[in-house]
Symmetry: C2
Subunit: 533 residues, 2 copies
């Protein structure tokens, strides 16, 4: 048993709250409330992905796994016969506890301010979005530790963090710690992309300790099972891997079923060929055997498995562009069209669907990606990697991609897969994960402001008011990364006294524009002013 | 006398080249050429802002100042009577050496590839853009050390780095080193925003050693002259400061002449009031004296001084929004309209004009800023700070602002003022300057790709080809920050052997998609494949 503080330093001036359900009174949605010294600022319930790790009252034992909060709902459904997927319940008009949970979560306690006029999110709205396929709630019943969350264009923009060892580096413990570290900073889902040894065991540890949905690319484990020789892959090996991982509780699978044999030659003409690991493995298999992609030819059977476990399918873009030169080309868009075809197959079986997107795309070609995805894939949620808007900045690709991510999020992408500063260069360490997650949180938040999510602006406004009032500690506590904000401030003006100051080291007292603004305000009100300033 | 390597480590696999003029044979435009091991990649002349510091052949003596490369051209003009501003020459149809210099510089040696069909930039095109006011070449004859550069929407997007001590921190030596450090990483201009003691002397050192245009906010020194008491400011003190700084060689002045008395109440209603230092000083002066802004009432005389020294005016946005809540409000746009009126006054006197822009603006309100600026300010070049697309990420505001900067650059903004990670928190140090400059270089480059600058994509394509060929050292050398790319790569796979590897630590050899792509290509060509992979 260890304190949650083993994993990270808790956020300052904050405490955990639990908001109860109305339809389902046993629902307790975890949020973080910041203690702001200004009584006029509305008390936002900050969206909190850290699960029990964010509650100092909870003891964590990674050997036991975290609390199985969804178990009562899952058990109740089993008693009523064969359980359905969230999409099937939604289509029948049934609101599940998961649906009410995500509605409460999205509103961030701003329901009262947002009012009943339809701008706050209701459980019924969640149901209708899931029924229409415009949103997914990834929650395998075999992952009862997972706190429900929703991915869809009419909700908060979500972010995914990738972890996973490779043959070259890292251990199981490190990967579990990276998962916990990711959700502390705000990762909404985590993909375990392990490719080395102990792939099953690593995943088990991550699942039993994860409060967020876990995604995988089952092809990686299938390849390990045939000793890394892509040409030896078979449908049977892949199918068994799917079942094994679904039984463990994986919430969504990336499956590259849209990469057809006939598209491979289109990709070989490119500047950077195929840059998706799963895509390149399947492309090699297709070419060597001169056969159609077995993920495509067996897609019906795949969907039967996914429906049984309510695992979402994330239709992978094996032909995503790996350079701005290859963006929006025939290879990429041909595959996207096929993903649209597969979406309908999956929906007919009640399987929830995400569509994966690029990659490297210069800014002027981003909107076309979103529009084409919506049109060809029938408004299934889009889940993109970046996109990176230039190729010239290795070491800064969290930023080249945050530009594209914020834009495509604004245009309607539902989840952004993070990119760390190590992209193209090496495996991310703890610092890179923090940098990547926070960068993507800010990109997602910028997208939410721009697309007009009703609860998005309250946090910006609270922080701006704190800034103007020189409430430094409130400003830090409302930041996405309070630790860094404090550290940076204290580099030039350390000590508690400086946090009461009506200026900072950037301009000094005489040139502080906010201080002068306050003086003018006082002059207007009272006719008096301080001549010393 | 010191080696230029005193200031920074030179870029790898690179050498300095000088491209001669055709109209003016004594022109030698400095560029950096990267030695790429692939003979098919076109040899790009990378735009180089580092002046003599980037040439290991040059000895630098900061006490003497750097070479005065423009002196012969300036002397020749003086012999022909009263010299004109670049805009006045342009309007008379005269191409100056500065104009040919910037044309060569913009093409980055890609003229041959771009062809004669008008896609490469000609001296005549430069002249016509300067004549129309759509571009400026900031080059005070008293700053002959400055290598000419151009700021305008139809050219490469430029970036500015701010340096300057405040009352709280830093010394003259540090500021000169920050300037050199900035131009090493690619700052196109540098603003000296010093507000502490020795303000004249600091600026003298910076000017005599700067190969890029230097901007200032003369109000800061004027305020020091009246002991920091804004209410004691007078037109005479300000005028004398302008002349003093113009005599020293400052290339552009930020002047907050558009902030009218009647706009101040609009700003006081805001969430964050006035956040421009110069703006708040002027606003206080106007309110306390109940008089119109003396920069506005004396703008004619200001322009006479600027025209005499060919100093550009950068019309400051004293009412830029300091929070997303205040974006695009009446205060901001009222001032912008007045800047448009002042643009015509300046142009009539031959003064080159830049217009400064925000600030904090959520993504969906960015385009309106650009369109309104173009319309109201008659296509004078726009020069923006960010904009920051959310307020919630202090410590990461180089990124919140890079998102907005890349977007507004694409829409037509000519120069982006960098923001460092320390924004809102403290004074940037050396690491922050590097982080800020490189972040803004990548944002500017993303903008150039999106707006279709003809020479922009060559570097991306060269780097992408190097990446696909596993030419690691070429990839590093073509990066915006080769040192960081190498460091990050070497954290997991150090040693020279790893730089010959056909994989990296991200995926390991078996899962390397690029390696598999190459295998498939070989299989298609030869029918053979390596079953071990």
């Amino acid at each position: 048993m260890t304190e949650s503080s083993k994993f990270f330093k808790p956020f300052p001036q904050s405490h955990r709250i639990y908001v109860p359900g109305k339809l389902f009174p046993d629902i307790r949605v975890s949020m973080r409330e910041v203690e702001i010294s200004d009584p006029l600022t509305p008390k936002l319930g900050i969206y909190d992905t850290s699960g029990p790790y964010g509650d100092p009252q909870k003891k964590i034992d990674v050997n036991q796994g975290i609390e199985k909060i969804r178990k009562p709902w899952i058990d109740a459904r089993k008693k009523n016969g064969e359980p359905l997927t969230q999409m099937q319940y939604a289509k029948k008009g049934i609101i599940t506890p998961e649906m009410e949970y995500v509605a409460i979560r999205e509103n961030q306690k701003m329901d009262v301010l947002l009012g009943e006029n339809g701008s706050s999110i209701t459980p019924e709205f969640v149901r209708s979005e899931v029924a229409a396929g415009r949103a997914v709630i990834p929650c395998n019943p075999n992952h009862p530790e997972c706190e429900p969350m929703i991915i869809g264009r009419n909700f908060l923009t979500k972010i995914n963090s990738n972890i996973g060892n490779s043959a070259v580096a890292s251990s199981i413990e490190e990967e579990v710690e990276k998962m916990v570290w990711s959700v502390h900073w705000g990762a909404d889902t985590v993909m375990d992309l392990s490719t080395g040894k102990n792939i099953h065991e690593t995943r088990e540890w991550i699942l039993r300790n994860s409060p967020v949905p876990i995604g995988t690319v089952p092809m990686y484990q299938a390849l390990e099972k045939v000793n890394g020789i892509a040409d030896h892959l078979t449908w049977e090996v892949f199918r068994d891997t799917l079942i094994e991982q679904a039984e463990q509780g994986v919430d969504y699978f990336t499956i590259h079923a849209g990469l057809l044999l006939s598209y491979v030659p289109l990709a070989l003409k490119r500047t950077t060929g195929i840059v998706s690991r799963g895509g390149s493995i399947i492309a090699r298999w297709c070419m060597v055997h001169n056969q159609e992609n077995f993920l495509y030819t067996h897609f019906d059977e795949i969907c039967d498995i996914l429906a049984k476990y309510d695992v979402c399918v994330s239709l992978g873009d094996g032909l995503r562009p790996g350079s701005t030169a290859d963006a929006n080309d025939e290879a990429q868009f041909s595959e996207l069209d096929t993903l649209g075809e597969l979406t309908k197959v999956a929906w007919a079986k009640g399987v929830q669907v995400l569509i994966e997107g690029p990659g490297h795309v210069p800014m002027h070609k981003i909107r076309e990606n979103m529009e084409r995805q919506e049109q060809m894939c029938h408004n299934a949620p889009f889940y993109t990697l970046g996109p990176l808007t230039t190729d010239v900045a290795p070491g800064y690709d969290h930023i080249t991609s945050a530009i594209g991510a914020a834009m495509i999020g604004w245009f309607g992408t539902a989840m952004l897969c993070y990119v760390t500063p190590k992209e193209h260069l090496g495996l991310p360490d703890r610092d890179d994960v923090r940098e990547g997650v926070v960068t993507y949180k800010l990109a997602a938040h910028a997208a939410d402001l721009a697309k007009g999510h009703p609860a998005a602006h309250f946090r910006d406004d609270a922080l701006s008011r704190a800034r103007f009032d020189f409430r430094w500690n409130d400003q830090f506590a409302l930041s996405l990364d309070p630790d860094r904000a404090v550290d940076f401030h204290d580099e030039t003006l350390p000590g508690n006294g400086a946090k009461e100051s009506h200026f900072c080291s950037m301009c000094g007292p005489k040139f502080c524009s906010m201080r002068i603004s306050k003086d003018i305000l006082q002059f207007v009100k009272t006719g008096k002013l301080d001549m010393e300033k």
